[in-house]
Assembly symmetry: C2
Homo-oligomer: 272 residues x 2
């Protein structure tokens, strides 16, 4: 059973949600998912900083003290060796009815659920017809409006483990749940911040520590051709860290091992 | 006070929502908003047909009988001369945790709220930097993932009544809450279905009945230049019907009256 904290207290059973809460009615909110190992929320401050930036850009009330209180309360109830904590912040109710307007009482939901930390050895990708929209908050920020990622994942589910999403320009952006990296010689390459991607926490950590692995970090415009010519391709996210990608559609990708990269991320979260 | 029906019964106070309901956590659902005049839900079957199409495309369980039961129950409690009914259908809870997967028990929320039917005489628009994504379900279907429209509306709120959204190709798509029409000579022009628009019910009705107003209905690729050169520009949606647009950014638009178009829509919903 998950631990659930909602608007100030641990609850059992369902939420008591206002039927006009914009998180439910319009995907109007932001969230973060955070790995929790032995009661330690990994990269918590980085996740909260990203959430605060997204909330501010969208004009959603953000109360860091309230979030810290909720996180501490939830962690005190933790019964899992490995868990995933999800923090969901909605705009709350906006009156009168209009897309604009400030939510008077944002809703804050924090859940802690069991998480299976066993990483798949590798994954396959297929290119989705659903593109990322570089101009849209839903592509840059971790908002509740996730339907395009869901549609992309559903589109390829019979032929691959995850969908590779291109942006409107046709360049490589990301997968439905993570960032994409290429290794080519001594370069560690990932699509640039303005390519319709969510700038992941694991992505930032890898770029920051690349030199320690004798790799040059490069944020760039990445093409499908670059992916096919890379020595290695992998996906990153905060929960699964780095996962090698072996195939894109029906083509085999570079097979250079990424043990050092996986080891670096595990070291950074204190798991080695 | 609104009338609220949730998963089978009229409720007072908050919803009892599963904290993992994907409508709340991932904007994973669809909705419709429907005008209700004197207990009559306007264009109900058209709205439900659109909702069913969206639910099927997204793989969300759709039960027409259940929706009709809820609508009838809510309408029986109606105390408003003019109201807006919103039908919200979510995927429900998906286990195990993954973007793909079928929701076992979709949540259905139907609300009926007071609605002020007084139409603004006219509105102004400003072009948003947030583009519509022609490849994305969130642009074609009425999903709960509405954050990009919210961001576009917020972006222009200090200088216009609504945002005009272009698509990735830079062509005119729609506003954040309605379709866009131009009148030019005897032509009634609106962006084509594949231009990153939600195909509105009022839009379909106008196209169908254009000939009765001696207008030729044309679905096309529409440019900003077309907007500036039109005799008249107006916005449509199911609640506000047709509203003239007088300005786009700092430029005055064509001033040809659209009384006949407004009158046609009012006649179609039985309001004349």
């Amino acid at each position: 059973m998950s631990v659930v904290w909602f608007n100030g207290a641990i609850i059992e059973g369902p939420l008591q949600l206002d039927p006009a809460d914009r998180g439910l009615t319009l995907g109007d909110g932001v969230f973060e998912t955070i790995a929790v190992y032995d009661d330690h929320a990994v990269w918590l401050e980085e996740h909260l900083a990203r959430m605060e930036g997204a909330a501010r850009e969208l004009g959603i009330g953000f109360d860091l003290t309230r979030i810290h209180d909720g996180v501490a309360t939830v962690l005190a109830q933790n019964k899992f060796d490995v868990a995933v904590m999800r923090i969901t912040l909605t705009r709350g109710v906006v009156m009168p009815r209009a897309l604009t307007g400030f939510g008077e009482s944002p809703s804050l939901l924090i859940t802690l659920s069991a998480f299976d930390p066993s990483h798949p050895t590798s994954i396959t990708l297929a290119v989705s017809t659903v593109r990322r929209n570089e101009t849209a908050p839903s592509s840059r920020l971790k908002t509740l409006s996730y339907i395009d990622n869901i549609a992309a994942a559903r589109e390829v589910t019979d032929r691959a483990d995850d969908a590779l999403m291109l942006n409107a320009a046709g360049h490589v952006a990301c997968t439905t749940i993570g960032n994409v990296f290429l290794v080519k010689g001594d370069r560690l390459i990932t699509p640039r911040f303005d390519q319709g991607i969510l700038c992941g926490i694991a992505r930032a950590k890898l770029l920051h520590h690349a030199h320690e692995m004798q790799l040059k970090p490069i944020e760039a415009i990445v093409t499908l051709e670059d992916v096919f010519l890379a020595d290695a391709v992998f996906r990153t996210n905060s929960l699964r860290l780095a996962t090698p990608v072996t195939m894109l559609d029906d083509r085999t990708l570079g097979t250079r091992p990424i043990h050092d990269i996986k080891h670096k991320l595990e070291t950074l979260i204190g798991r080695t």
